[in-house]
Structures are given as structure tokens and as C-alpha cells.
Symmetry: C2
DNA sequence: ATGACCAATCGAAGCGTTTCGATTCGCCGC
DNA sequence: GCGGCGAATCGAAACGCTTCGATTGGTCAT
């Protein structure tokens, strides 16, 4: 096995100098740097993690697979994060265990990753204090209620909820419904779900619309039940906002089965990845998974380099018009 | 940060004793063991990777994201591996860089993972020699031409290809087509693609059927081109085997657009995860992603425990009958 | 010529863990 | 009562890398 010492000998420098070439923590003259790099190349050197304080080149992606999270969407994030991380020479360690705050602290202490990306963030997330004090760069995809001392990136879900209402109100709709995430997601106070709902409700009041919002459970038949409940409560509903990728397709089918033409009788809007909405030909607020993931990786790499990015970056919602119907 | 030394002090033993409790490499009396374990619990000790020779509790999943690999299917594997690994207390490190043999050696030397799972295996894979000599447990999902000294698990794709032909021949079909993976996948000599094709061709000869096999590229319009090419070459085709998840749905649409009813005029069989085939209501050979992943993790954990599992485990193909049409 | 200063580099200590030879201790047979 | 034995435990070295104070050598103003 080739160590940093072998490289140093071969290049005729001290081991520490090789380390500085590697980490960039001190200046190394251009000549020395290329010589060391050449020796590394020649000897086939690979840095070894198993050594105190060494860099791991690992980005930990913390995504507890809890009830109510929709795997396909999560995996989209994983894919995007992995892709972006690779461009920075980082591998990704998937941390799916829901160790909560304790688990996170263990990871950080153990030096198992250089930096952290945290998903599925709750408004009052127990992991936040750990993130603040753990002394390793972390970025949240999503954001808790208080963001000071953190770095978060998120879609502006509150604006997204409002944007849907405005769009529908502008089209002349008076009675609209909202079908959201499974109820456990709201029960956990998951940020994106709570915020979208808040934005939706406030805007409905502001625009003077009649509205109802319901969660939608996972699993077969749940979409049918959700649509049924909504139609029962609000028979004259003429537009629907759906924020639940798992049931979206089924919701449209159900409406049609109930004899409501989509979009002629009921306009359906979705908040989801654009590709999914495109397939179903629905007007949507884009959930920009790739952008979020890429920006998150960039932010965390910036922090690794010692920069201090803003506490909160909110992406404005973008609307993809497809088949909204004017009343 | 709590170290092994703190635990040792607290429990009134030497640090080495704590280490032995942790690794089990030497006997420790029952009394001491529980005392040490209690101290760990109490102090919230977490082992630290960044230290020579220590265990990482990381399973490296090597899946180079090369041209022609279909991400959704790969991500299914990732999900399954992550789930299975968690049951053994292991996290998963996704290694997506195509570092080839050199990259793999670096990972192994660097002690960045306790064990390896390797995907996207070619018949003559350059990583195989490294796997043999690297001295860390590894399991291949897929298998190269020569498997001695390795541990591999795979669906028996050759049998799968043959099974499709037999099924169709039994139904009375005389002229059948095969639409496979993108051509780059064959060019790389990727095991599963090559073997399926070999099985398909041999069986077609054996059963005396007329057949044509074509690759199907990725991207929009590729399915149309593939179907077009196949129909041009074999206008009287009455059955089709598709081994390409990315284009499967589109292939069926194309056939219908060409005026061929599915399955009445053309029976379409798929080799893909059962769920996808079920959605499209196609007879299929199941690609048992979950089983493969789970067994692979079990095999690699067995090797970590010093056992020596067989070099090659082949799962027999299973057919899910759905809508094959009798001639 | 001199001293101050800065960039580049060195050498050694230190990180948290594993590993291995050495030591302790209790027990048994004689 | 003594030598021998094995299980349990200890202590220290070693692992490959980082870090930090110290040193070198060159430049520049005086």
C-alpha cells in the first residue's frame, strides 16, 4: 500500500508537504506541487481514511425513511445529489436510519463524513441543535422555523401554495380543494407540507375563495377515499391542487370515474417534479429536484471551503401551464 | 468527543480491553464485557473511523453510472441494498465514479469500506483481478465469464432469454423479435445483456423460430426507431421480447401506433421488475431486484464473518403470465 | 552589510484505534 | 507448597495522516 510517506520520499519532500498539497491548507510552491502530484500519479497513491483527522471525501446524505415519505421522489433527490457530489470528487453515504439527533451526533463525532446534507426537515427539528454545534458543514434541504446559524435551501412552498390559488382565482374558480401529503407528514410538522398548506389557506382567504384541504394517505384506495371525501365536502369544487406524487395519477382517474371531466369540469394542478406533471398533462408548480440538490451540494462544498453562505435560500415557485380551464 | 479511552477509564479497564469488547477479536470475561458496554451506553460513545485499522461499518456499493445504465432500475437496487444493509447495521456508500480497477483499488487500500458490492459487471471485467487480491469481502451482482475466487449472485439471464422463447414457441409463435439494451451496453460486454441475448438466440435456433434481435438506444424517439427497424426487418413478427425498462412503455405505444394490437397482433414479453410489467399488463420474466440485493448483502456479510460462500449463485428465472396470446 | 519580513518547507507530536507480546491471577495436579 | 497452565487483561507500539511550531532562504528597505 502506497502511503503519503512513500510519495514524500519519491518527490523528495517532507510528508507534511504532501499533506499540504493534498489539503491545500498551506501554500505550496507551484514546482513542488506538480512534483508531488506526479509522484502520486506514478505510485498510484490513494489517500487513506483510517487515520486521524483525515478527509473522507464522503458527503453524508441524511434521509430517514419514515412513514409517509415517497421513495421515488426521495430517490430522485439521491440521484441528483450523487451526480452533483461526484463533480466535486465526493462520494455519498446514504444514512437512512432514523437515528434522530443522537444518530447524527454519532456520525459527526465518528468522523464518518466531511459534510452533511439533511432532508425531511421538520419545523421544529430535533436534529437542528446538533447541526449547529457539531462543527461540520451541513446544509438542510428544507428548513425549520428558525434558521439562524444554519444553511438551508428550499423551494418557497408557502409561495407555491399561494401561487396555485392565485392561478386558479385568476381563471375564475370560486371553490377549490387541496389534497396533500399523508397525515403523518403533517403530524410530524414536516416543513414543506405545513408551509404549502399555510400558503394555500392564506391565499384562499385573501382571494375570497371557498376551499377545503385534506391529507391523502398512502396505499391503494387512499386516493379514492381522498377524492371521495373532498367531493362530499365540496361538491361544487371546480379546481384541485394536489401535493402528493404517490396518488396524483390515481386522483385524476378517480375524478373521471366520478363523472368529472379533467380539466373541463375540474382543473387539477400539481406540486411535483415537472416530468411527472408533464406525463399527466397537468398544470403544475415545479418541484425542482435537480436544482435543489445541485445547489445544496454547492452550498455544502462552499462551507467546506470555509465560506459562509446565507442561512436560507428560497427558490421562487415556477408554474408550468398545461391544462388549466377558464371558468 | 467520547473516545475509547474515556470508556476505558470509566469502566476501569485498559483501552485495549474496550477494543476487544468492540471487535470480539479476543475473549473478554462476561462481567467486564457488560461493564464496558454500560460505560459506552452511558457516555454515548461512538466509534471513530478516522483511526488506523478501525471498522467503518460501511458497505461500498460500486455502480459506475456509465452510458446506457437506466437510473430508475439502478436506484431500485440502491434502495434494496440500503434497506438490507441497515438490518446488518451497515450504511451504504454509493461509489458512482467510474474509476475502474484503479478506483476500486484505491477504495480498498484506503480502508474506506469494510466490504464491497459491485454492479454493472462485464464478461471480462477489469475490476475482477482487483477484487480477487484486495483482501476485503466483495460480492458481485452479476458475474463475469470466470468466477473462480469470487462471490457472485445473478439472475440466470441466459435461462431467462431461453424461457421467453420457449414460452412464445409453446404458444405457437413462429416469428419473434428481441429489443434489448442500448448498443453501448453490448459493446461493453455487459454480462446480463450478452447472456440474455445468447440464451434467446440459442433457444430460437433450438425451437426452429425465425428471430431478430436489436439493441434499443436511450432517449426520445429511440423506441420508435427500434420498433420501426424491427417491423421493417420482420414484418410478420407476432411476438416481442423487450429487455429495456426505459423504452418498454413506449414500445407498446409504438406498436399500437403502427396498427398492431397488443397482445392480439403482437404479444409483448418483458424482462424487468415485476411491478413495471404489471403496470403495463405484460407477461414478464421477473427481475427480482429485492431478492438479488438482499442475498448479495447477506453473502457479503457472511464473508465479513469469515465464511466462504459459493462462487456463483444463479436465481432461476420466474415467469409472470399476464397477456400472452395464443396463435 | 544588516535586520525585518514573508513564503515555503520541515520535523515531530498527536489523533483514536488496533494489535501483539507481556503480565497477572487463579486453579489444578502432584 | 510448587510448577505449570490458560484465560483475562494490560501496556506500548504502530497505523497513515494532519497540524503546528520551528527553520530555512530569499527579498527588500534601510
Amino acid at each position: 500500500m502506497v502511503t503519503i510517506l512513500d510519495v514524500a520520499k519519491h518527490a523528495g519532500v517532507a510528508p507534511s508537504t504532501v499533506s499540504y498539497v493534498l489539503t491545500g491548507k498551506r501554500a505550496v510552491s507551484a514546482g513542488t506541487r506538480v512534483r508531488v502530484r506526479q509522484s502520486m500519479e506514478l505510485l498510484g497513491y490513494r489517500p487513506c481514511v483510517t487515520s486521524a483527522h483525515s478527509r473522507t471525501n464522503v458527503l453524508a446524505l441524511v434521509l430517514p425513511l419514515r412513514e409517509g415519505v415517497h421513495l421515488p421522489v426521495v430517490m430522485r433527490f439521491v440521484t441528483a445529489v450523487v451526480t452533483a457530489a461526484r463533480e466535486h470528487g465526493m462520494d455519498v453515504r446514504l444514512v437512512t436510519a432514523d437515528g434522530g439527533a443522537a444518530g447524527l451526533r454519532g456520525l459527526a463525532n465518528g468522523g464518518r463524513a466531511d459534510a452533511f446534507l439533511v432532508m425531511d426537515v421538520e419545523l421544529d427539528d430535533e436534529r437542528v441543535p446538533v447541526l449547529r454545534e457539531m462543527g461540520r458543514p451541513a446544509v438542510l434541504i428544507g428548513h425549520p422555523a428558525a434558521v439562524t446559524g444554519l444553511t438551508c435551501i428550499d423551494l418557497d412552498f408557502e409561495a407555491a401554495g399561494a401561487r396555485c390559488v392565485d392561478h386558479l382565482a385568476d381563471l375564475g374558480h370560486h371553490t377549490i380543494g387541496f389534497l396533500g401529503a399523508p397525515s403523518v407528514v403533517y403530524a410530524r410538522n414536516t416543513g414543506f407540507a405545513r408551509r404549502t398548506l399555510a400558503g394555500f389557506r392564506a391565499a384562499a382567504v385573501r382571494r375570497g375563495l371557498t376551499s377545503t384541504a385534506l391529507p391523502t394517505e398512502a396505499g391503494g384506495g387512499a386516493a379514492d377515499a381522498g377524492v371521495g371525501a373532498l367531493l362530499a365536502e365540496l361538491p361544487e369544487v371546480s379546481a384541485l391542487v394536489v401535493q402528493n406524487e404517490a396518488v396524483l395519477g390515481r386522483v385524476v382517474e378517480c375524478l373521471r370515474a366520478e363523472g368529472r371531466r379533467v380539466p373541463d369540469d375540474v382543473t387539477v394542478m400539481a406540486i411535483c417534479p415537472d416530468e411527472l406533471a408533464g406525463r399527466l398533462r397537468l398544470t403544475s408548480i415545479q418541484l425542482p429536484v435537480d436544482v435543489l440538490a445541485r445547489r445544496a451540494v454547492e452550498l455544502v462544498m462552499a462551507k467546506l471551503d470555509g465560506r459562509q453562505p446565507p442561512a436560507l435560500t428560497l427558490l421562487p415557485p415556477k408554474l408550468s401551464p398545461r391544462s388549466s380551464f377558464r371558468r
